[in-house]
Amino acid sequence: MDTKKEKFPHGIPGYNLGEIEREIPAEDPPAWPINDELRVIGKRVPRLDARAKVTGEAKYTSDIQLPGMLYAKMLRANVAHAKILAIDTTLAEKLPGVHAVHLMHEMDDKDHLPMVKFVGQPIAGVAAESLDIAKEAIKLIKVKYDEKPFVIDLEDALDANAPLVYDEPIAEQRDGGDVGVVHDGSKGKGNLRGPSTSSFWGGPRGDVEKGFAEADVVVERTYRTQVHTHVPLETHGVVIDWKPEGMTVYASTQSTKGVRDELATYFDLPKSQVRVICQFMGGGFGAKHSAGTFGPMAATLSKKTGRPVWLMLDRQEEHLAEGNRPNSLHSLKIGAKKDGTLTAIQQKSHGTAGVALGAGVGRIAQILYECPNFTTEQYDVLTHAGPGAAWRAPGNVQGAFGVEQAIDELAEKLKIDPLTLRDKIDKSDVRKVERMRGAEKFGWSKRQPAGSSQGPVKKGMGMAQSTWPRFVHLDSSVEVKLYKDGAVEVRSGVQDIGTGTKTILAQVVAEELGLEVSDVTVRIGDTVFPDGPASGGSVVTGSITPPTRNAAYQVKLKLFDLVAKEWKTEANKLTVKDGMVVHMDDSSRKMTFKDALKSLRTGHISVLASRGDDYGGFQQSWGLAYGDLGSVQFAEVTVDTQTGLIKVDRIVAAHSCARPLNIGQLESQINGGVIQGVSYALYEARVMDKGTGHFINANVDQYKMPYAMEIPEIESILVEEYPAQSSTDAYGIAEPANIATAAAIANAVYNAIGVRIFEIPITPASILNALNKDYE
């Protein structure tokens, strides 16, 4: 590969900004300067589809209407554990308006009736002329169960006599969102699986026994977190039209290509015959990478009937069966010297992702702080409950809730300010700047000692921080096309799940071509375009914007070649500015971009580019970039010690994602992450009845979500940082925004009332229970 040397801005403006030389592929564009010197990058460019969304013009998957379309509904098990003895669909099939009934298990194994392993497991699907008819039909399907004992509680499931969820080993499980985390189902017995003890980042090291022997203080605690469902405003679902020439799938998904690949494999079709489209997404948060069970069901019903089939889940089905953040029972032991230096961290966790694997506490303990001696054991516990799924920073949110409280407790024991301790043990420059700027904006110096707030209504301040890897999804491609009439188009299969991907692609191309954002048409979310990244792991911006810039740059050079020939000059003497192609040596020689394109011999020219390696290489060749996505969040709370009511008054969230591309959209991501963090800390929890195995608050009334009055004032700080690792030098922010919030709130609650709460959600009941031990 031909290479060239380029100088890049490097470091943090206002702290240590400098320059670095990188050897980069010869065809890549020169370095962009820092954002201050750019026109559209790093600015508050309004979201391209904002208007369509707020006016209702945007068509989400559930809005899709096709000629002859049928509506489908799935019948779900209402027992937690059973052998199905018989399923009778006769009455359902006879109901007028019903076009097809299909049994779930017949897709895999026609000959054996299946086991039910959780309430909500799909059993059958019906396609009918209206949703009401489909709903009526599934009530007419009679299922005969042989009910078995079940277990839904994490600790009960560990009992030697607990009913088994699986009596055979299960394979390792991954899904697109659970980046880099492997859960081994082959080890362990009973309902216990694992432990996983290593990681691609961090991992075991040193000798913890020796480390604790060297410690002056030790904090040893157990933390608990709840099962937390995703509650996307738009539920899971698809509209599938299977025609002889192939199927078209409208999906609410975080990965158009993932759904395509799954369905192609499932039905043994060439990938070219499965087209997946996702134009607008009403939230996924990690749970929407897969075609699920509803995808194959809708496809089968469409094939059977020869008609398009609409299958969107309702809120209860969404809660029961489409993913959740597993709970955790997380023990930590941390040792430190008098000056704060950490000597050892020992971590052990159990969590349940129901019938699936994937309950861990992530990498916060292993990687956030310098510590020479470390071990972790993370166990999965199987229960008869709906499967977990990746959920905004899988594992790490649970992990941070414990680690960041333990570090605070350590600071208190050592009589060191929590920020000072972190300055000592956290080697990240970015977080150092975040702590400085965050503390200043928040007013950390006004923080009082824990429990010193007077009166029954107490105020408290706390903070917590987080880390998340910079993942790059290497299979990320994009095409930039210039038309003879001056039109500019970007095409990629990548979906915009609400984060603003469409807008940043337009910004990158506009910046590179010297155009306005409105000059660029962005076509994405469709597998007829080059494959983009899945929207998981916060990879999208870091994966798709560099090839987008590179493609725009290269297609611009093609255009320059044509213009140079016409102007009888060298292509490298040309540049773009304010919509014009200009000669660098003679600014009077110029023409509009549009006119320049008139000289094309073909209708359009285009370049397809794919994500290359990071400049300077990766930490790991599969796409683990250097550096991390750090954040520091500060929380101020009010706790009424007589009623237990907690109010989060304010969050200051300091974040970094290397080069920020769109300030408004980044702030939206931070707001969303913080709100979900507040909700996780104080409100949301799946409530299960151990006697019946049912999820009894599977709605959005009793499953508590925060509304307007629960949302704190959120102030964000974006720390610009230039690692010089790609042509845009940008990475994502979505997951980091959600990791530290609950821990920061827990630390603030402790600061307010002087009693530490080790379990979330922190409710009025938990505050009153902690403060009134004597009422029983």
């Binding site: 209402n78 309430v119 009401d132 709903k135 009526e136 009530k139 007589q642 009623t643 237990g644 009511l645 109010k647 104080l682 409100y683 409530v687 299960m688 009845d689 151990k690 006697g691 019946t692 049912h694 009894i696 608050n697 009334d701 009793q702 508590k704 925060p706 509304y707 307007a708 009055m709 629960e710 409710t763 009025p764 009941a765 009153l768 229970n769 403060l771 009134n772 009422y775 029983e776």
Partner: protein
Amino acid sequence: MNRFSWYEAKSVEDALKNANTTLSEELYSPSNEAAFFKSGGIDVLDFLKEGLISPKTIVNVRDIPGMDKIEHEHNEGMTIGANVTLAEIEHHPDVAINFPALQMAVAHAATPQLRNMSTIAGNLAQRTRCWYFRSVDHQCFRKNGDRCFARHSETGQNEGHAIINNGSCVSVHASSIATALLALKASVVIQGGDMKKKVVSIEDFFVSPMQDISRENILGKKDLITEIKVPAPSANTKSFYIKQVARESYDWSLADVAVVAEMKGNTCVDITIALGAAAPTPIRSYEAEKILKGEQLNDMSITKAAEKAMEVARPLSKNGYKIPLFKSIIVRALSELI
């Protein structure tokens, strides 16, 4: 939701002629021929959507003429038509001036959108929000089943449930407005199928599960609430209401309290203390009232009253926190009267 027909009642008589049961009766012993009332429709719709009941006919009483007025007469008190919305009560100036506790209770119920839709009669006749009761998969006592899931000491999820009178069904009544109406000694005017009018005190309107597990109020097959009467307070009456929730935007109460007292200086001549979300029905704490009647209201006496009010409490496995919570809000509400 099943298909049903819709009957638009034109008068009280017409409504009574066309209804044949109550939602509660249909739930307890389904006839599949049910025709019952709907006013704001909020609670009825929830039952239909959850698949808990399948009526044949919905009798809409929402637009019967003459049932949507608030009338205030200084000596008599206030008459609130059955179809008056919660929002209308919330914003009525006479309510705020004469019955602050009622205004506060209404303003803290549900959400602004729901208050625009919900009627006062529907609010009083709504059923408990106990999550087991509202689940088609849990056949509890109240649905002619054989147990109370929430009361179970190991498996019951009962954080929100009753701490008083919880020997049978342990649910709490959903209306937080009833707490204020109880403290204000309001009564419910009911037109029976025979077109006879009954006037029933709020206290007698609600039925405890020990009396009759199948219902939460006395409304029979052909009983239509036509109005609510709130008697005029005697001079020097003060009232206050507190609803404690986990989430302020909207939430069902964890505990709520209404206090109404006739004061002479700092001496409490007469007082009512009503508690919501404490028992299966809104209840008065006569014991606590006794402590304060004729006494000075001060920190000591009101703390004593709050302690007394909770003496009868017998918490379930997960709702012990309600005891300190009730004590706190009782003290706070009473302090507002000083």
